[in-house]
């Protein structure tokens, strides 16, 4: 029965907006629709048990290895966490020796200003250039053939609390970038640079008055919200100026609609009583024209976010069945525990079922687009310690672990976290360049006691199809292939291949450190299919996991609940792995 439904889903699914050649992987999420779906099909459930590591490389950097390699013209490009070294490996030669490496001069000040480890989410190939962000607020373009720097543009200011871990996103001749800093009270933005020269062409704020958000009232048509200057009027006084709204996740693009979609992070500070109102457009998705940045629509997932539910998870563009009809949808697994299916032309919410345990809201009202709140789970400095808010602010799915979508199975694949939190907000003061938070939020396991899982999800029905429970929170991205194999890694350092239809484990390999990166698949010069992934625990797990570092004798920490055993299974260390048959 299950298989029958899955096959039905595949028949109904329309083609996705795949880009590039099948054998390359030129952008973070494989294609503009952000499917992380590879059309390579040599690796199948029948032969995946014969997978084996074919190559490894130590990046020489210990911090969290999020993001993913890209593969273009028989060359693999790898960006490390700070200090953001770019390696170019020649896949045509035995042992994949380096063609070159590029070592930029990156300010160490960024180390302490980045909220949650010095991670980097990857590079984008376009116009013969490898384009990526340095953590200290610069975007660089490096010639893909020679490794020579083509341009370097400052787009953010570390002194303001801004850092730049996201991968740039390139559409036509625009490079679109944003900055993190939702824990530092930044004035969040995205910027459009010229692909050829790196020149700054436009800046669109995510909060604030219409003029600074690049809102033209005749062309800005949010589905639910009407009125002028919503990014200002939904904040008290001038609090929007230090209201956060960072951009540290992923972007998607629909060429037919000519819209770029990206998620906006949390409002600052965490203590929501200092910013009464909806706080638009934090914890939202915004749709902009890439050429001039003008805002076309916006939808706020979590109005007046008082749980740090950044909305920066990957936005997958796929066709989803709603009421028996295919809709051009945008699908995202929000930190707040709901899986949203939006009409990607208008921002209308078509469906929003919970995908993990959710306690902060009972449901999403599809008429208004707003959550139906549970009044006992609203937080703020006057409310003391609010217990058992689910999901935790790591998210039911962490935005750091992007989902995948297979048009063959019609299913979405994603890591999940099974964690809840207690949330005690306190008054916070803003000092430029220092944290602006005001909350303590310890976590505990959700129902069942396991802390994470990897699941297949049917957005047509709003239901989980299968799930593999993991002992620790699950933080790797997902990959699914035309061979119907899905891949992911775990925090305790296993890399796994599973049957995309059934979830059956096909292969696993210990990879030296916890996996918080995203697997990719490409065709090598020998015509064979390979899968590559980073190992290297970090990101929030640099902060959360207790003693997983061994490099600093002056920083020793006790094991940390509720995942106190992580240090038994993994330590820091950046590695690139390639698997093949």
């Amino acid at each position: 029965m299950l298989v029958l439904l899955v096959c039905l889903g595949a028949l109904l699914a329309a083609p996705v907006l795949a880009q590039g050649t099948d054998g390359d992987w030129t952008m973070p999420a494989k294609d503009y629709a952000s499917t992380r779906y590879s059309r390579l099909a040599q690796i199948t459930p029948a032969n995946a048990t014969r997978l084996r590591p074919v190559w490894t490389f130590s990046t020489g950097v210990l911090a969290g290895h999020q993001g993913q390699p890209i593969v273009v013209n028989q060359t693999m490009y790898v960006v490390t966490p700070w200090p953001n070294v770019l390696y170019a490996f020649d896949l045509t030669q035995e042992g994949y020796p380096l063609k070159w490496k590029y070592r930029p001069d990156v300010s160490p000040n960024a180390i302490g200003i980045a909220c949650c480890d010095v991670i980097n989410r990857g590079a984008f190939y376009a116009d013969g250039k490898i384009i990526y962000n340095l953590l200290d607020g610069h975007t660089v373009a490096v010639d893909a053939a020679s490794g020579k720097q083509v341009w370097k543009t400052q787009i953010a200011d570390v002194g303001n609390g801004e850092t730049t871990p996201m991968a740039p996103f390139v559409v036509k001749d625009r490079v679109i970038v944003g900055a993190a800093g939702g824990e530092f009270g930044i004035y969040g933005f995205v910027k459009g640079l010229d692909l050829k020269t790196g020149k700054l062409l436009w800046t669109g704020r995510n909060i604030g008055p219409d003029a600074e958000m690049l809102v033209n009232s005749s062309t800005f048509k949010p589905f639910y919200d009407k009125g002028k200057d919503l990014g200002k009027s939904s904040w008290p006084g001038e609090t929007w100026k230090i209201g956060g709204a960072p951009v540290w996740g992923w972007m998607s693009y629909d060429p037919e609609l000519d819209l770029v979609y990206y998620g906006v992070g949390n409002p600052s500070p965490y203590n929501a009583e200092q910013r009464v109102g909806d706080n638009k457009w934090t914890s939202s998705v915004l749709a902009r024209r890439p050429s001039d940045g003008s805002l076309v629509w916006g939808y706020q997932f979590t109005p007046h976010d008082n749980w740090d539910y950044d909305a920066v998870s990957t936005m997958i563009l796929a066709d989803v069945q709603i009421g028996g009809k295919p809709r051009k949808a945008l699908v995202t697994f929000n930190k707040n525990g709901f899986q949203y299916t939006l009409d990607r032309a208008t921002g209308e919410v078509l469906a929003a079922p919970p995908y993990v345990q959710v306690t902060w809201a009972k449901s999403i009202d599809l008429k208004t687009g707003r959550p139906v709140l549970d009044s006992s789970k609203q937080t703020g400095a006057s409310k003391g310690n609010v217990k058992d808010v689910c999901p935790s602010l790591e998210g039911g799915v962490s935005p750091a672990s992007p989902a995948a979508y297979s048009p063959r199975t019609g299913l979405f694949y994603t890591s999940t976290n099974n964690m809840c939190m207690d949330f005690a907000a306190t008054e916070a003061q803003h000092f430029r360049g220092t944290p602006f938070i005001g909350a303590g939020t310890p976590y505990h396991a959700g129902p069942g006691g396991h802390l994470g899982a990897f699941m297949a999800w049917d957005a047509n029905r709003g239901k989980k199809v299968w799930e593999l429970k993991e002992h620790f929170p699950n933080w790797s991205g997902a990959l699914v292939t035309a061979g119907d194999v899905a891949f992911y890694g775990t925090l305790d350092g296993w890399f796994k291949a599973v049957d995309a239809k059934t979830g059956k484990l096909l292969y696993k390999q210990k990879v030296g450190s916890g996996v918080v990166g995203n697997p990719i698949s490409y065709r090598g010069p020998d015509g064979k299919q390979y899968v590559a992934v980073y190992a290297g625990i970090g990101g929030d797990w640099f902060l959360l996991a207790g003693d997983v570092r061994s490099d600093d004798p002056a920083d020793v920490r006790p094991p940390s609940d509720p995942y106190k055993d992580i240090g038994r299974y993994t330590s820091q260390g950046g590695m690139v792995w390639i698997f093949g048959l």
């Binding site: 000040n109 916070a428 938070i437 939020t441 902060l543 600093d552």
Partner: protein, 271 residues
């Protein structure tokens, strides 16, 4: 009657005259030109600290609890974690130090910042404020962090040590929920003029001159004849900025309401 600040200054001067109080030269900041910090430091609040500020040994009678309030109010816990147990920044309570654990070294780390993102706080909290933070950090018990972590039966990691509970926090650096405070033993009441020292106000304020914040006499002068007690009580409790400039007043939730009213009354009575 001498103000608490004058008392502090007197103590400081006395201690300075004593031998064996020479600042650790190696812990001095690299650049000491007026209003300068090295390029690899971030000035907190955008305010560059004064040069050559390490002027005295730590005043002996600072209240570590007030320093703890400042640790939270100045967002130190945002990077070092609540209880300073470590977060994106290193633990300050494991008995181990990158730049030295002596008073002078910790003072220098806070006042002038350190490379890799430790902001220079001297510009916003001044010498007294930094010494209060030092007193708080030095008053913290060093937990049972030992060089060996063992998962063997009976090993120290086989059952999570009690300290582990304090390590769980959220990303972005907020503090863990502090344990329920033990019932406090009844403290001797202090007269209002000693409350500023008791509650850490003297980190930023003095009676008769501007420090980081305005002098208490200036505050009294500004509001003379106006009924602002309730408003100022609220301001002290919650903090704020804009009245006296852009350096914000830190929130002070640690001060009980009764003392707060008494202290504000006293401040407004100053001539």
């Amino acid at each position: 009657m001498a103000t608490s600040r004058q008392v502090l200054a007197l103590i400081a001067a006395t201690l300075l005259a004593a031998p064996n109080c020479k600042p650790d030269e190696s812990a001095k900041p690299q650049a000491t030109g007026a209003g300068a910090i090295p390029e690899d430091r971030v000035p907190a609040g955008g305010v560059v600290p004064a040069a050559n500020a390490l002027s005295a040994p730590r005043p002996a009678n600072l209240n570590p609890e007030a320093g703890g309030g400042l640790f939270s109010a100045m967002n130190c816990d945002g990077c070092h974690g609540g209880g300073a147990v470590g977060w994106v920044g290193p633990s300050l309570v494991d008995g181990r130090w990158r730049y030295g654990g002596e008073d002078d070294a910790i003072f220098t780390s806070i006042f002038y910042g350190r490379p890799q993102g430790m902001p220079a706080y001297g510009g916003v909290i001044g010498t007294d404020g930094v010494w209060m933070l030092v007193s708080y950090i030095k008053s913290q018990a060093t937990p049972d962090v030992v060089p060996t972590t063992s998962w063997l039966a009976g090993g120290n990691a086989a059952a999570a040590p009690a300290a582990a509970k304090e390590g769980q926090q959220e990303p972005g650096g907020a503090a863990p929920v502090p344990p329920e405070p033990a019932p406090k033993k009844e403290e001797a009441a202090v007269p209002p003029d000693q409350m500023p020292a008791k509650y850490g106000c003297t980190a930023c304020h003095a009676v008769d001159k501007k420090v980081v914040g305005p002098s208490f006499q200036d505050v009294a002068g500004k509001y003379r004849g106006k009924d602002v007690e309730a408003q100022l009580v609220e301001k002290v409790k919650k903090g704020g900025a804009g009245v006296w400039g852009q350096i914000p007043m830190t929130p002070n939730p640690q001060v009980p309401d009764s003392d707060l009213h008494a202290m504000v009354k006293w401040i407004l009575s100053l001539k």
